[in-house]
Amino acid sequence: MNNMITQTDSSGFNRRDFLKGSSFATLMTMLGGVQLFAQATPEAPAEPKAPPKKVKVALIGLGTWGREILDQLGRMGQAEKISVQPEIMAICDNYPAMVRRSSTKAPGAAQVEDFKAVLDNKDIQAVVIATPTHLHKDIAIAALQAGKHVYCEMPLAHTIEDARAIALAAKQAAGKVFQSGLQMRCDPQRHWLMPFIRSGALGKAIMARAQWHKKVSWRSASPNAEREKAVNWRLDKAISLGLAGEIGVHQIDQAGWLFLNAIPKAVTGFGSVNFWKDGRDVADTVHLVVEYPEDVRLAYSCTLASSFDSEHELYYGSDAATLVRDFPTSAWMFKEVDAALLGWEVYARKDTFHKETGIALVAGASKQTALGGDGAATSAFPMSPMYYALESFLYNCTETDAAVEDYVSSGFDVKNKAALAESVAATLNREIPSDTAPTPRAQQSALQNIPRHDAGFAATVLAIKANEAAIRGTRIELKKEWFELA
């Protein structure tokens, strides 16, 4: 956020910032980035632009994560250079106190307790579902049937059957957007990293390591016993996917999506209550080993009992390792001494990690920024992955609605679902010419930017099996058919 404020506050501009900013943008463009921060570059007067399109959206589920989503939606509503903005029509939670507590974040929104009332409101185009995992299914399917675009948090569900039901409903909802809450897949910094990794800059893929370490209990107190049980759903073995599923789902997905472009073959897990011995039977410390093709393995640790080194991922190749961490996402490369010189890294900013030198991999980095002395990791994409995920979602809602409208106004039969789906896909899934430099997906115009029902389903199946392996302390071979939808 600080970066963002610095970049956009033109009133505080000085000569040094000006020089830095303009070359920064130039280099960024050369690196295959995009359009960045045009507003911070005085030489480029803003073109007169149409006002942002509005998407009428409702948020269902106002727990910790739901309120975080509400914050991001509010931030988007205030952003200047944005083509789509949310109009928060309703906030909904079955616990009235939560609705009241959240109302200050969305002053104009209707305060609703029953999600069916949200779905009955014909004005609402899109819903974001952030309820406890086991409650997603009924809401998501009803929302799709009510003709809403749906953003569903991950994991999609706590059982494979429920996840499949959601994914199938999404697949059949022609002309509607269904986005799975794998927000890391929408992070422009990761989109920038992907072609770098896939180009072989790390050498042969060797292994991966990832962690999520926090010191939090996961338990909330409530004066009301029923509410206490409801709010502590993560500690209820019958409905919780535990650390492996609720948390691991995102980082495990990254190893397959960002690093390896592969589907895992097996998962082994261990879990135990090492610290929060308050009678819980959901592990507070979990280890997983996820096996991918070609003997590449991800070692993952997740704990609620130590916060050391927070959350990050490490991808090891024979020529270099890459560390990805923090929000906004930052990344560094650590080269082997025998690896070939790539060239650009000579100019890149270096950060020291104990005795290792990390070469900063920053979407939008430049020589000037690197040597500028302020040491900040200047990313052109300073917001959290959740922000970009919601931005992609809203953009795709407007694009999809436009495509459906064009289909209908061209005289085509809206009841012909297959043709409608094909037409919308043909309009929005524009293939990127192969000779085009990588463009951060958040800047692209197509639906392929987003993790849809299929990605969400596969990641959910993996999360469920990882949790199962951790509970049983065993190795589970992942069968192909578990990942198949129909």
Binding site: F24, L31, G33, S445
Partner: protein, 252 residues
């Protein structure tokens, strides 16, 4: 990683406009001026009822053909338009998969058009929603729509006046014609001529064609977007449109 240079660009912009290579006539034909008058006002399909204020051409979409004529309606899938142009950084292209409209032709069309002057003047109207043209970046899509003055002019429209056959009578299969008609882009209508190929197969008519146009001919200013850190990106005035339009008789 090699710095991927300028090509990357993102953001470019575009857009189009056009001009007939050989302007057929300065005056618009009376036929073209009264486009929908001949189309019986048949009840609209559910689809067009739902359509928001569709421009005039759409009124014809659900009509039935006059007796003796066969009506082919645009199909929801199977059509494609590609628009290609140049800029000071690299060539660009945009694609659309939506072409609406209809053809009213005699039963022996297109062969009949080779010999019968009346059959060579079928009623043909088609259109493409401007915003259905997509590049692969948001910015480029936005710039294009801005320069095309979308949403004021939501469609590129075309109305055929006449087909001038190229092959001799008796030819079959994919037949080539010179299509003479009127093209409307961004609210400006100009007479227009282009070569087209028409093929009848399994109760469907497929029309393919290619035409070169100039943006400025239709009052569209070639975009020259200002992009931070880059200067002098200008799109060329000339663009090429290639299309493939699939129409079919209504299933009985």
């Amino acid at each position: 990683m090699k710095p991927q240079i300028l090509a990357s660009l993102l953001v470019l912009s575009l857009l189009f406009a056009c001009k007939p290579k050989e302007p057929a006539a300065e005056t618009v034909s009376p036929d073209a001026a009264t486009p929908t008058a001949a189309a019986p006002a048949a009840p609209a399909t559910p689809a067009s009822e739902a359509a928001p204020a569709a421009p005039a051409v759409a009124d014809a979409t659900a009509a039935t053909a006059p007796s003796g004529m066969v009506r082919y309606d645009a199909q929801p899938t199977g059509s494609k338009t590609k628009m290609e142009g140049t800029s000071t950084i690299h060539d660009w292209s945009m694609e659309s998969a939506v072409i609406g409209g209809f053809m009213e032709v005699d039963a022996k069309f297109p062969e009949s058009a080779l010999t019968d002057p009346a059959a060579a003047k079928p009623k043909v109207e088609l259109f493409m929603p401007v915003r259905s043209f997509k590049s692969y970046t948001k910015k480029m899509d936005e710039v294009m729509q801005e320069h095309m003055n979308e949403p004021k002019f939501k469609r590129i429209e075309y109305k055929l006046t006449e087909l001038k056959p190229k092959p001799a009578a008796g030819a079959t299969g994919a037949l080539q014609f010179e299509a003479v008609g009127n093209l409307t882009i961004s609210g400006t209508t100009k007479p227009h001529t282009m070569p087209v190929t028409i093929e009848k197969k399994d109760g469907k008519l497929k029309v393919t064609g290619k035409t070169a146009l100039k943006m400025t001919n239709f009052g569209v200013k070639p975009p020259a977007p200002t992009i931070a850190g880059m200067s002098l990106i200008k799109t060329g005035d000339d663009i090429t449109i290639t299309f493939e339009w699939l129409t079919a008789q209504k299933a009985q």
